[in-house]
């Protein structure tokens, strides 16, 4: 039990359970299954962008990807346009989305490396360019996803939403990548001390490049799924995921100073963030109060859980 309590991700799960119970108390347990399913579905999208952002944040101070929302929008828009409501095009659509991710990730790292500008500004400038491209491709049209894909993203398998299963698979892959492969050790090492990592002969540029590309790829996949789930791509569909992707990473117990990542925590934090909003909805609060309470809860969680993880400077 004490070993469990020492895990940094446990706090987000405890908070999630508490919020879930308080919500159920009001509804009298009537909508428990529905609430659980909705939570899993919406949390899945935050989890997918969150694990990408987590990889980047693990690289150390200053590493962050602000182009996530723009990437999601562009990937969703282009993929849906290409598929043109045809079931046969589902796989090519996914491949194109991934290709867009590779391009944007490469562009991001090229700016960081060649211009030696901080990642926050590099990815910000990149996101402006990407967002413009999305506006230009979209032209205000709302193209529907192919029926197969729309069904798949909105239905469940054995009671669990399909998107949550995909998020689970992706998190499992990233977890293995981080815990069991040399790549995972490398990004942790770079995050802890880039100088020591360089002395140890770790291919720093290669690792950082791959990480930014991976982050952009998962963001693209998320955009592809989200666009299919919500029945079409919208130009602002990624915007709420900018702050969300950072929030779930940090609340989940990943060190903001880098070098220590945490996959289970992302799940806890994503479920928590969605549940907080739905709890406040259940209690019938207006938009203003809801926002204020969300903010205060984020700060409270980081005060409880974050003091330790951010301990090193």
């Amino acid at each position: 039990m004490t070993a469990l309590m020492r895990k940094p991700w446990i706090w987000s799960f405890i908070a999630t359970a508490l919020v879930f119970l308080t919500t159920i108390l009001v509804t009298g347990g009537a909508s428990m299954a529905g609430l659980a399913q909705a939570t899993l579905t919406f949390a899945a999208f935050s989890v997918i962008v969150g694990i990408g952002q987590m990889l980047v944040i693990t690289l150390g101070p200053g590493n962050i990807d602000l182009s996530v929302p723009a990437t999601m929008t562009l990937a969703g828009t282009v993929a849906l346009k290409l598929m043109g409501v045809e079931d046969g095009m589902v796989v090519p659509g996914l491949l194109v989305a991934i290709g867009i991710g590779v391009l944007i990730g490469t562009g991001n790292y090229a700016l960081i490396k060649l211009l030696r500008i901080p990642p926050i500004i590099a990815t910000l400038s990149m996101s402006f360019v990407v967002q413009s491209t999305a506006i230009w491709t979209n032209r205000g049209l709302r193209i529907k996803p192919p029926p197969v894909l729309a069904d798949f993203t909105t239905s469940t398998t054995a009671g669990i939403p399909n998107v949550a299963i995909i998020a689970l698979i992706l998190s499992a892959i990233v977890w293995v990548l981080l815990q069991k492969t040399v790549y995972g050790r490398w990004i942790a090492a770079i995050g802890q001390s880039i100088r020591a990592a360089r002395m140890a002969g770790i291919p720093i540029d290669g690792v950082r490049f791959v990480t930014y590309v991976l982050c952009a790829i998962v963001a693209s996949i998320c955009g592809y799924l989200l666009a299919s789930f919500s029945g079409g791509a919208a130009l602002n569909m990624g915007s709420e995921y900018l702050l969300m992707s950072i929030a779930v990473v940090v609340i989940g117990g990943t060190a903001v100073a880098g070098g220590d990542s945490n996959v289970p925590g992302i799940w806890g934090a994503s479920l928590f963030m969605f549940l907080v909003v739905s709890m406040l909805n259940t209690y019938g609060f207006g938009a203003g109060v809801r926002l204020i309470l969300t903010g205060l809860i984020i700060i409270a969680v980081i005060m409880l859980a974050g003091g330790r993880t951010a301990g090193k400077r």
């Binding site: 030696r116 400038s125 413009s132 940090v250 203003g288």
Partner: protein
């Protein structure tokens, strides 16, 4: 060879140069902009952005980052257009409370060693929520006095330029020339050595956050003076604009290396980039993208100049 420029001056060359080039390009495209009214129109909206950029720069001086800048300026704008207009005393009390809140946040971040990004992220929801509560729909009215200040027409130079110069000079004196500013930059450079020298870091953090809130409040008030009404989402762009402005002006994320004059120039450059693009008649689809491209080009210029400088000093 004797060194001609101090490092601080070199830090300023690129921002100043890019602003000049952009200004020349705008004048070439639209010669009528080369007048009192033209300049005022070009730089009008730069005043609130410059103030917000200085606020962000203060936070960056101590190695933190404020992701709530945009929502906070929106909140202030809402307070200005409602309380400050209808019952000035209550408005002032609310704004003072906001400054105190910022100071408390600074202390909390320091005491618990929290990541500033996350705490200010949480605060951005709080400010946004308060703004929505105050003004659920766009509205309100600007107080007469701020309207009078923002639309006044001083001789020789338009108000926007006068205000920008005042902001730049005042913040330069405060950050670069006062002993208070030296301590602040010291906290960003090496907090431990500042502490050993007998300064209280907690007090420095609280002061820097309160001061940032003060500048952000000025930004919100100035913004309402220009737009005459407010909205809960009026300044959301300011978070990213202010960070970009500081970086464009030669500031850095860590180490207490900032430049107040550069930050104001950075804010002016960002504002001018928008006008430049509309004069070029670029399709609105590409406006944001072209702004990103301008950002990239200026930073590339800075890299070139730094390299050139490094080579010269090595010789």
């Amino acid at each position: 060879m004797k060194k001609i420029f101090s490092p601080d001056t070199i830090r300023l060359i690129v921002p100043a140069l890019s602003l000049t080039v952009l200004l020349i390009a705008v004048f070439y495209l639209q010669p009528r902009a080369m007048s009192y009214t033209g300049l005022n129109l070009l730089f009008n909206l730069a005043v609130p952005i410059a103030l917000a950029t200085i606020a962000q720069m203060l936070i960056m001086t101590v190695n933190d980052l404020d992701l709530s800048m945009g929502t906070f300026v929106s909140f202030v704008a809402c307070v200005t257009a409602t309380f400050l207009q209808a019952s000035p005393l209550l408005g002032i009390v609310i704004l003072l409370a906001a400054i105190a809140t910022y100071a408390v946040i600074g202390v909390l971040i320091h005491l618990r060693d929290l990541p500033s990004i996350v705490v200010t992220l949480g605060m951005s929801f709080v400010w946004g929520g308060l703004a929505v509560l105050i003004l659920p729909a766009p509205g309100g009215q600007a107080p007469e006095w701020i309207r009078a200040i923002m639309t006044s027409k001083p001789p020789i130079m338009p108000m926007a330029i006068v205000a920008s110069i005042l902001i730049a000079v005042f913040s330069h004196l405060l950050i670069m020339r006062s002993s208070f500013g030296v301590v602040l930059r010291g906290v960003g450079g090496n907090a431990r050595s500042v502490e050993r020298a007998g300064w209280s870091i907690i007090r420095a953090r609280a002061a820097v956050y309160a001061l940032a809130a003060f500048f952000a409040i000025l930004a919100g008030i100035a913004l309402v003076g220009l737009t005459t009404a407010a909205d809960a989402n009026i300044a959301l762009r300011y978070t990213l604009l202010s960070i970009a402005g500081v970086i464009l002006g030669g500031g850095e994320f860590v180490g207490g290396r900032v430049s107040p004059i550069g930050a104001v120039i950075g804010a002016l450059t960002l504002t001018l980039a928008g006008s430049f693009l509309s004069f070029l008649r670029i399709s609105p689809d590409w406006q944001i993208g072209a702004q990103g491209a301008i950002l990239i080009i200026v930073l590339a210029l800075r890299l070139l100049l730094n390299r050139f400088e490094a080579r010269r000093t090595r010789r």
